[in-house]
Every structure is written in structure tokens, then in C-alpha cells.
Symmetry: C2
Subunit: 214 residues, 2 copies
């Protein structure tokens, strides 16, 4: 069941079963199970609802003219995507894709625009808090991307990871290519810099599991 996952999401945290059922009805929740590689929204598709990831990983990206694709967000379990576009009923040529097998809960903003009620008030407040938290996370990313060297971006990124994990060891939710996209650098240049940092004894890693030394 999805209860435990929803408990980790900002929208449904702390609800008992009855409240959760009511809330899911409010959002007209619909679950979709999809395989890795499934396109949840193509560049030109509209977005009738926003998504909450129950399982797996989803990326939001945008292709530029040179075929280069830029990562806008990497969405992990319990997090959402597309809320802003959905709330504002705007369109945008973004591409949303499941990069692992995934389960997604689609939620509609319609009820937020409906008649006032205690439930709507509660949900609106949670939705707003979610957006606010989102902007803070995006600021963290902007902060990383503002650095001029790969090394500086990495240390900023690692610091953030360590903070979130509450320790010096953590596993990042990316493969190398994804990590490079998130940091806005070339994949091979990233590998090179990671090797260098390992050689200097600053970090240890295996695959996506890192440990900060010193």
C-alpha cells in the first residue's frame, strides 16, 4: 500500500487513514504504474494533473536546440512534479519521464479552485507549503550551479548531501550522467574531478555511494 510513502510527502504527512482517503478523493488521485522509460509528459503535451512519485525516480528535463538536454528536476519517492504548471494551468515544453520502473499518483488542482471548506483550506495550506519548500530547494541548486568550477560545485553538492543525510556517508540518487546533468557539467569531466578528489584523499566512493573524508 502507499500509506507509508504518502506519510513522507508534504501533502499527506501526518494523516490517519480516514483523512487520507478524504484527501485522496479531494485531489481526484489516480495511480499509474509505469515502466522505466515511460514518457509521462512529452514536450508538447498539456498537463492536466501533477504527479507524486510513489515509487521509483522521475526526471523533468528540457531539450535545447542542440539536442542537449537540461535537467530541471530529479524527483524521488514522496516528491512531486508539475505542480506549478498545473496550478497555473500553463503549458511548457518540458519533458517528464520515468527513469526507473515507477508508480505515480496523479493529483488534480481542480478542487483547490472549488468551494471553500475546511478540507480545501488544509490542502491549500499544504500545497503552498510544498511550493515554498520547493523554491528553497531550487535556491540550493542555483547556489550550486552558480559556482564556476567543477570542484566548487561538487563540494557544495556534497555538503548539501551530507547535511540531508545527517552524516558524511550518503548515496546520491543519480548515476554519473545524471549527476553531471544535475551539476551542469560534462560527464567525463566529472569523472575526472572525482578521481582527482579521491586521489587527494578528500572523498571515497563506489558507484553512487560517497563518503567525505578529512
Amino acid at each position: 500500500m502507499a500509506m507509508e510513502v504518502l506519510q513522507k510527502s508534504a501533502l499527506f504527512r501526518g494523516m490517519n487513514e480516514a483523512q487520507m482517503r478524504q484527501a485522496l478523493a479531494f485531489w481526484q488521485a489516480q495511480e499509474q504504474i509505469c515502466l522505466r522509460g515511460t514518457v509521462l509528459k512529452g514536450a508538447l503535451d498539456p498537463l492536466a494533473a501533477f504527479g507524486l512519485v510513489l515509487q521509483g525516480n522521475v526526471t523533468v528535463s528540457m531539450d535545447d536546440i542542440d539536442g542537449h538536454s537540461m535537467l530541471l528536476a530529479h524527483v524521488t519517492q514522496g516528491n512531486t512534479f508539475g505542480e506549478s504548471l498545473c496550478y497555473l494551468q500553463e503549458e511548457s515544453p518540458i519533458h517528464i519521464e520515468a527513469i526507473t520502473d515507477a508508480r505515480v499518483l496523479w493529483l488534480s488542482c481542480d478542487a483547490l479552485r472549488g468551494a471553500a471548506s475546511p478540507l480545501r483550506d488544509e490542502m491549500q495550506a499544504r500545497f503552498t507549503a510544498m511550493l515554498a519548500a520547493r523554491t528553497l530547494r531550487m535556491n540550493d541548486r542555483i547556489q550550486i550551479l552558480s559556482r564556476t568550477s567543477i570542484r566548487a560545485r561538487l563540494t557544495a553538492f556534497f555538503t548539501e548531501c551530507a547535511r540531508d543525510a545527517g552524516g558524511n556517508a550518503f548515496t546520491v540518487p543519480f548515476d554519473r550522467a545524471g549527476m553531471a546533468a544535475y551539476l551542469g557539467v560534462d560527464r567525463s569531466a566529472l569523472s575526472r574531478e572525482l578521481s582527482r578528489m579521491r586521489a587527494e584523499g578528500a572523498i571515497a566512493y563506489q558507484k553512487s555511494a560517497f563518503r567525505l573524508l578529512k
Copy 2:
């Protein structure tokens, strides 16, 4: 008077005078007039209210350990800063400063947490829409910062400016140093690239006024 400016802001757009008065009371609005260079929030200060810029320009930045300062937001007339932190009642070591003489309207989120009322509903909806629009703007910035070359960042930035201005001529709200910070590049490298683009006949500019050619 500030009416005309507030008409341009997402929070107060489309209100008549009576509604505006009510809304300002709701937010416990307080105007502050300040000189260029005034620090509106130091790195360690808490933030009791968020700001709406009535006049002038305000920057939100964060210093990293090397003294390097990173630009998080450049806030122009009619736009706001600090809403997310204020709404979530979180603290963050960001630095907010008036970079021109400015007038700022301080708004409190308290009433959003108060008793339900039609006014609160309306304001909450506007606040949410403002946050949603904000995340979309931040996505634009992330998109720019994700590019790997100065040239690519510039063309993305210019494209966005041209879209906003509705034409090929526009004035950016930055001096060169600010523009470099916004784009996450070195100031002199930016000057160099701009000269190059001018030499190639791709753009014309004088100070902060640009025109796209070709």
C-alpha cells in the same frame, strides 16, 4: 502613491482602492524607504515579513566560504523576496540588500495562518499563484545556468529577455557585474564574450541596453 505599482504585483493586481486597503491591512503592510546599500536582512537576521519592492532594485545573495558571493535573486519593482522563508518560518543565511535607493513594503504571513475568511482565501490563492510563478522563473534561471559555455548562457538569457520585452531590444536590470553574477560567470570573461558577439554582428549594445541582430 503606490497604487500603480501594486497593480503590477501578483498579490494586489486588479483590486480597487477599497479592496487594496483591506488587503494591505490583511498583510500588516509597512513601508520602508531606504538608501542604496541598505541591508534589509543580514546573513544571521531572522525574517519576520517578506518584502515587495515598490521602487528600486533589491538583491538576494549568499556568500560562500571564499568570500565569493552568489546571486540568488534580483528583485525589481512589483516583485517580492523572502516569501518562502517567511511562510515556512525558516531561517537561512541569505543577505538581502537594496542596490539602489528603494521603497519596500513589508508584508506579514501571520494572517494566512489565521481564521478562514473570504479575504484570507483570496490572499492565500494569490500567494500560492505567486509562488508557483516564482518556481517557473527559477526554472528559467536553472536552465540558463545549466549551459556549459558563456555564449550559450548569453543566448538563452537574451532569448528570455527578448520574450519578456516582446521585441529584440531590451534593457537588462543589471550592470555588468550583476549580469555576470546572474549568469554565473566571470565579469571580465562576460565582457570579452559580449565584445566577441558584437564583433560578429550578433548583437549591439550600449551599457545595459541590448539589441539582438540577425
